[in-house]
Chain length 636, copies 2
């Protein structure tokens, strides 16, 4: 085994950025270029811009009407109308027409009366009335825009009116984005075991564009020291900034750090953040070079914390304000004292307060970034945050939308995805936010006022009945609503052709099983059925291995990671698996009865009852629906 | 004189939009197109998008280390180390490498100890530890993005990782933008009296781009009915939406409304809004056609109120939240009962509250849109708002920046433009907001806590001394700071060569004068000097004609609108005017003494003392500076 550089430094984020910026120093200066005003939308002015002519260019009529000599209208009044003669006493003008001497005032069309041989006025005109004087809007020589200003649509109009046709703007910094790795394939290429689809470079490309840079994406470079060196040398010579993806850690083929030490200076290798620790901040050819870790969430956070501020210094873009809200955390978060952790959270507004529910925390959990409404930062030197505590959340979306979002926490089913897509179509501006923590987790969230609705499917062991008995027991003393969802068949999912010959739950003891997490209705169903059959769960290999959704279980079975798992028919169908039914269950939604009249819940119920939803159920298959959207009141 | 359609309708904004949308009906449906994911940044998904493969594609190592068979590591501990043999008991893996059967766990590199013939471990590995199961991040078939979603950088990464390479997105609506008018010239063309530089189409082009549309700008069409008709017919056939600029009002050559009545249906002509009243909302070829008034502020408001919502329905873009703040109005606003008025305001945060100062209100005042921080809406059926009342301001900029802005209200000088440009360069994130209401207006704003500083130049008639005596009188009982600015020469500005032969203030009685507004230090200086000389102001023609800045006076003189005006030497220099000195005055800044330690005031004083500022003063010319940035405490 070759030597590995196991121990990276652990420098706090702000300190790392400061060292990087200090090392770059005056390299972060601004380049400018001259461009046409008609192409300058969203560019940053490189210097203050002054008007080159007046607007209006001349004294002109502010209204449609006639231009008159004010002195000649003196004495006109209701009782003493005055008749003016065209060409002598007045000329007809439309808005914007010049008002030339001797004319010095405009009377608007509405105040005129046509008459034989002229026009009758019944009021005198004050000098300069309804005349826009030269330069009224823009005066030649006045500053129109300061330097460092991002150009908006209205600025373009005013620059042109002020006679400016070319301006000096900040040049777009060029950024080389270099994916590396021998195992990397391009999107769309055939996938083999061991393949990783290259996606980070495309995400970085987009982030650079949003930050005012001009990205150039290189082809993926294999993990060969000399090849990498050639590419990096060329990139650092020709570009203003380089992002080199992967190879930043301590694996056998992590060449980025040694390479940067050879070609330039490594300022920081290892930052006290998670994900994103193995980021490399370096300088070569006086250019900022960032070694971006390969895990997508690490790549994102490394770029946002170090790439974005450096790019902004180069591009002149200003970072937009991140709205911060105080939210109640729904689950305990334990974190190491060693680093600041960026936990992705879903945020909802329930009963007037903001609620933050943590999502998957791994560096590889890119979907957590897609699903997240923001980040909850657990600072270094902090062991974590208790459930129910208030945390600051840096939002990644507008605050307004959160108020129009139905918060669903509980068991997962594909119909939730359908509803997430459908709700804004049916009710523009309304969204459904769905977090998957299992049936019991959802009901507890509901009890704590952390969700508007909880999707669940829980069998009552005493009565053998679904949902109502559990709701009654858990919410004793409370009036609850059971909103009927769908009937669905649970069963054992096995690979096509059922190679292990599984015919029922009794066969699970002789195969490699994959289970659902504690509190999941599917797991409770398994436990209930095993109990009936007298099977000890510990006899089942893999009983302790947990997946969080039906689809995750189905994927594990299809790819051979497990032989069997309990789940719903639609998941088996989606993955092309065989399915051995075990029983039908009811998948419903719980909500407090007093919430039924809230707009949130009403739109949700309407969506459940909509023909669009029912036809989508048909399409998915595997569901029965008898009372979709029906409400049963339950006295807990 | 030809017939004019003087009387437009006066329909409230929301009602007009509703009628327009109703008339368009299903025309506002969504078109989609298929594009590559790598080009989909900021596009809107046309439908929900589901993952086409799992990510990871296979079970893989989550850490650098070795893949082991968990069962074979049982019993390993601190006291009972176990030696594993490469190839048999383990294989070396880097992060992302596949973990294939029989291996089912990874031990990370940090926990390994190299030894003769293998590797020593001191803890057992749990099954599946440090293994990322297939589909852990993204499960094939799960929804990645709902329909109607604006694609962000992270979404692109996840789509690619989920095996998606092409997606259906909302097509960009095509928008024809047609400038009209015989008097219109292109930017950069030679200007004649009567020319209007065409700028609205370029502003609209940029607004359409920001709203997700694809603008096509037509060449300017002259005011000829048949020519206009041909162009409009072609545009309504080929584009999803048409914006026709100018000719919407009641002038002799306002053909847009009759034309649209011939080619389609005019839904609304005339909305109860100001500026923007003569907007036309029409439908031709089932397409939305908007007759956009020609005044820039009217064009902007007509587009924002009617064009933007219709474009968004077509493009799928969602309007971003407009932050609204409650602000204290600094000046009384009188408005008609007949319409809703959109008053542009500068907003600042002074002493913890937001302050809104109205800007120029004319429909032609495009600079007011550039300078504005937002709009204060005076609703229909409201006569106006008193000074000191609280109003809602729809901000056009981020809330955060307002907290870092030094608010200056008072007399205008070119050095304020210089400071507006310089402050953010010297102190990134800090801005100077400057509103020009004259010296007295500024001091009153300071007294009312509406500004941080007030630039002023006021001669005390009793002592003949500048600034300190006035400050002492106006702020009696208060401790004030006089921050020294510049010395500047005031004088009479006349056209080059002094054609009227003016040698001093006594000659003003025989020429056409242009004055400054009441409360301006320059006007008070004139009055003081005239008093000394025994000249009655009413003997001066144009004494009652007011301009708001030195530059506006200089522009009027240069262009012949007036023969003479009082102002500062730098304004005369900027406009190429001759200058007859009348006296030197002191242009300083007032602030409450207790505010001197506030960061706002400190940065301002530092900017005044900076070498960059002093060298800019040198460049401008016409100033003397002896104590720039010096602070004199005054006991009022």
């Amino acid at each position: 085994m070759s030597k590995r550089n196991l121990y990276l430094s652990n420098i706090p984020v702000e300190e790392a950025l400061r060292r990087f910026q200090d090392a770059l120093g005056s390299q972060l200066g601004a380049k400018t270029e001259s461009i046409e005003v008609v192409h300058c939308l969203d560019r940053i002015t490189g210097e203050a811009i002054y008007a080159r002519c007046n607007s209006p260019l001349y004294n002109c009529a502010a209204m449609d009407g006639i231009a008159v000599i004010s002195a000649c209208t003196r004495g006109a009044g209701e009782a003493s109308p005055l008749t003016l003669e065209e060409g002598a006493d007045f000329v007809v003008v439309d808005t914007g027409d010049p008002v030339r001497p001797p004319y010095d005032a405009v009377i608007m069309a509405e105040d005129l009366q046509e008459a034989q041989g002229g026009i009758i006025i019944r009021a005198a005109a004050a000098p300069w009335q309804h005349v826009r004087p030269v330069g009224e809007d823009i005066v030649q020589g006045e500053m129109v825009l300061p330097g460092g200003h991002k150009i908006r649509p209205i600025d373009i109009g005013v620059l042109l009116s002020g006679g400016v046709t070319r301006i000096e703007v900040r040049a777009r910094p060029t950024v080389a984005i270099i994916p590396t790795g021998t195992e990397i394939i391009e999107p769309g290429e055939e996938m083999r075991e061991g393949s990783i689809i290259e996606s980070n470079s495309r995400m970085l490309e987009a982030l650079v564009r949003h930050g005012g840079g001009e990205p150039t994406r290189f082809s993926t470079v294999p993990d060969e020291y000399e090849t990498l060196k050639g590419v990096l040398r060329k990139a650092s010579e020709r570009f203003d900034m380089v992002l080199m993806i992967a190879g930043t850690s301590a694996g056998r083929e992590d060449f980025t750090a040694p390479l940067l030490r050879e070609l330039g200076e490594v300022i920081v290798h290892g930052v006290a953040m998670k994900p994103g620790k193995p980021v490399i901040l370096a300088v070569a050819d006086s250019k900022p070079i960032i070694g971006v870790p390969g895990y997508p969430v690490s790549a994102y956070l490394a770029y946002e914390n170090f790439g974005a501020p450096v790019l902004m210094a180069l591009s002149g873009f200003l970072r937009e304000d991140v709205p911060v809200v105080q939210a109640t955390l729904t689950r305990k978060l334990v974190s190491s004292l060693k680093h600041r952790e960026y936990v992705r959270v879903k945020v909802g507004k329930v009963g007037g307060r903001f609620i933050a529910t943590p999502l998957a925390r791994g560096a590889g959990a890119a979907m957590s970034l897609v699903r997240a409404d923001g980040f909850c930062l657990i600072e270094q030197e902090t062991e974590g945050v208790e459930s129910g505590e208030t945390v600051n959340v840096l939002l990644s979306r507008g605050l307004d939308g959160l108020g129009h979002t139905v918060v669903s926490i509980g068991s997962h089913d594909l119909i939730l995805d359908v509803l997430v897509d459908l709700m804004p179509q049916l009710f523009p501006g309304v969204a459904l936010s769905s977090t998957h923590v299992g049936s019991m987790g959802g009901l507890l969230a509901l009890k704590n006022g952390e969700a508007h609705i909880a999707p669940f499917h829980l069998l009552d062991e005493e009565t053998g009945e679904y949902n109502s008995p559990t709701l009654r027991k858990l919410f004793s003393g409370q009036k609850m609503a059971l909103i009927k969802g769908v009937g669905r068949v649970q069963g054992i999912m096995v690979r096509q052709g059922n190679p292990e010959g599984i015919s029922g739950l009794q066969d699970l003891t002789r195969c490699n099983y994959i289970n659902r997490q504690r509190g999941a209705g599917t797991r409770l169903l398994l436990d209930y059925k095993l109990g009936e059959m007298g099977i000890n769960p510990l006899e089942i290999t893999g009983y302790g291995r947990e997946a969080a959704t039906h689809m995750a279980v189905a994927a594990a079975v299809r790819d051979g990671g497990a032989d069997a798992g309990l789940g719903i028919r639609s998941a088996a169908q989606a993955m092309g698996l065989d399915f051995i039914p075990v029983g039908e269950e009811e998948y419903d939604f719980a909500a407090p009865a007093e919430a039924l009249e809230l707009p949130h819940i009403r739109t949700f119920i309407e969506a459940l009852r909509s023909p669009q939803f029912l036809s989508k159920l048909e399409e998915l298959g595997g569901y029965t629906e008898r009372q979709c959207g029906e409400v049963i009141l339950i006295d807990g």
